[in-house]
Symmetry: C2
Subunit: 376 residues, 2 copies
């Protein structure tokens, strides 16, 4: 702990059940609270295994959550909620499902639309229960207060943040992530680490959050390669589920910086999965920030198991090598992103001030362009 | 992280406001939730500064919380609650005030008496809000689910644990601890550290809790001497307030071991303040456990700023020296505990199986007796 312990608000789910078998806590909690009309918000894969939740009685399911959900996807989920009139909403999937579940828990019957609640703390309240059950280890959305929805007109991410979107229960069961394929495991694992690293090196960094951030990086450094090599490695899956939760803890009071800002256009404009986009960009922004955040960058490299350094070239090599060895595709060209779009992407990324303003080093539009070119 | 990530339930206040000025969150939160009939549960000192809470309207106060509260003290607080019929209970003080506030929040109108709820999860529910405002840095009661009340007949601690006793809001404002005198600062600081150390080395230790435990010890190692030397050192007070909160996090899912068990008879039979009793015993149990928990003991000694060792004599010297340099009275004789009572004390301590059974090394009644003799 080196920085000052300035004032901070920490919001947490009242109850977090962590570990193999934690999914059983969902039905237990629902019974305890007397919930009888659950609505599960899930992608198609998880909608097909909704029985794993072990809920009694009739269960309503919205099973059409899309990756990087957009406004029409949210509208469809809200329509399903209008029919089902749930007393508890259960997010069951990755960040997309959990983010939509948050909004489905607060918007119906509130008189508020999504546009009314974009920004911090615009949501007026929540009348139903909210349970989050992550099935990937990446976003950490189960522990946080944010939801992102893409505006199809502008391709911008609309960010809603509200204390009312905090889950009553987060059931973090690493067994649910066993079926995640190696490439997705790798990309989402780096995404979890990116949340930790960016919060750790943010201008808004706080010692209370640093504790989770550094431990999250350590967990990814220790367990991600194992889980990629053997998806059924329970210890590695548990370590990554925890790293993801810790990454989520980093998002609330501190949040990400340049890495996510530079990665967003890859998802919004080229439909590259969020985790993959973050993994591809991560070494570039870490190296860019290396001198501005020397001590912490060295700690990150150390936590990843490489020799600590603050030299930008050495930092880049260590971080790039970490991602490459996991099999992450690190070239924009191989993902179908044309160089002709770099200028527009750089302008878009540079406009995400809510993230870039907290980067430890000022990053110009040209700096962003140079990163895309280097990653071409 | 070396141990296995086995299943664990983490219970946390939804909202923790930490830092200088955090006390302002109490009135803000009360207004947000629409609370209009607060009952403040406090010791006499804090009852006299209840205006610091900044609450509007009429405020009921129970201002007679005693150190190590007993059943009659709880009954008096419950009687006050019956008159005041609060919609929110606010614990304002050290562990004694916060523990009584927990019980005052759940017992009135429930049909349950204290004897009904002793043990884990016997409480049926809570109908009013609960806010905790610690004014010492030691017990960490603001972040936990436990309350201890002394049975005057047996001098035993009755331990109640319930998820319903978890605060809705914990407002941890280090400014409130500025007036704590040096001797109390020292003893309560070591108590906070003892929570961390005992959980860290417990047979029930868990990597998720170890993170808080080791950081708590580091914070005490870094800041306690500073706060004892200069009570107005805001950075040191903040560090200790955080260490205390982290110590509280250690109590829920893991809890203390031999240190607290051996210390309890000092409080129950000889009315030695809890923090002082724990500080006096701490070096003895840490040294006793040194070989059974070698790696972690070395980490504790390192976090306290001494040269890491696992040799029991070296461990004792480092821990004893740490407490002694803080001015803690380390001799039972100087505190008026007669050697003639050691046998009875050892029998009582040895009977606290809920703690001793999790000690990393079996501790016999004779082992406890030897500790009292060594500390005579």
């Amino acid at each position: 702990m080196t920085a000052q312990l300035h004032s901070i608000e920490i919001l947490r789910p009242n109850r977090i059940e962590f570990g193999s078998g934690a999914i059983a806590s969902v039905a237990r909690y629902a019974a305890e609270r007397g919930f009888v009309r659950p609505l599960v918000v899930a992608d198609a894969f998880n909608a097909a295994r909704v029985d794993r939740l072990g809920l009694a009685g009739e269960i309503a399911v919205f099973g059409e959550v899309k990756p990087e959900p957009d406004l029409p996807n949210l509208e469809a989920a809200l329509a399903r909620a209008s029919e089902a009139r749930p007393d508890v909403v259960i997010g069951f999937g990755g960040g997309s499902a959990m983010d939509l579940a948050k909004l489905v828990a607060v918007l119906p019957g509130s008189g508020q639309t999504l546009k009314d609640v974009v920004g911090p703390e615009k949501v007026l309240g929540r009348a139903v229960g909210l349970i989050q059950v992550p099935t990937t280890a990446g976003t950490g959305s189960e522990g946080g207060t944010r939801a992102l929805v893409t505006d199809p007109e502008t391709q911008n991410k609309l960010a809603v943040q509200s204390r009312f979107m905090l889950a009553d229960l987060a059931a973090v069961d690493p067994d649910l992530t066993m079926t995640v394929p190696p490439a997705v495991t790798a990309a989402t694992g780096v995404d979890a680490m990116a949340h930790c690293v960016e919060a750790f090196t943010s201008r808004k960094a706080h010692p209370i959050i640093d504790l989770y951030a550094l431990e999250g990086v350590r967990l990814v450094g220790r367990f991600l390669a194992r889980a990629v090599a053997d998806g059924s490695d329970g210890e590695a899956r548990a370590g990554l589920a925890l790293a993801s939760l810790y990454g989520g803890f980093c998002l609330g009071p501190v949040n990400t910086t340049a890495g996510h800002a530079v990665a967003y256009p890859l998802g919004a404009r080229h439909h590259i999965a969020h985790g993959l986009a973050c993994a591809l960009i991560f070494p570039h922004t870490l190296a860019f920030n290396a001198q501005a955040s020397a001590e912490k960058t060295a700690a990150v490299i150390d936590a990843l198991g490489a020799r600590p350094t603050t030299d930008p070239a050495g930092v880049f090599e260590a971080a790039y090598g970490f991602c490459e060895r996991l099999g992450v595709e690190m070239r924009l060209s191989a993902l179908g992103v044309p160089e002709s779009d770099f200028e527009t992407m750089a302008t878009e990324a540079h406009g995400i001030r809510r993230l870039l303003d907290n980067n430890p080093r000022d990053m110009s539009r040209d700096d962003i362009l140079a990163i895309y070119r280097r990653a071409a």
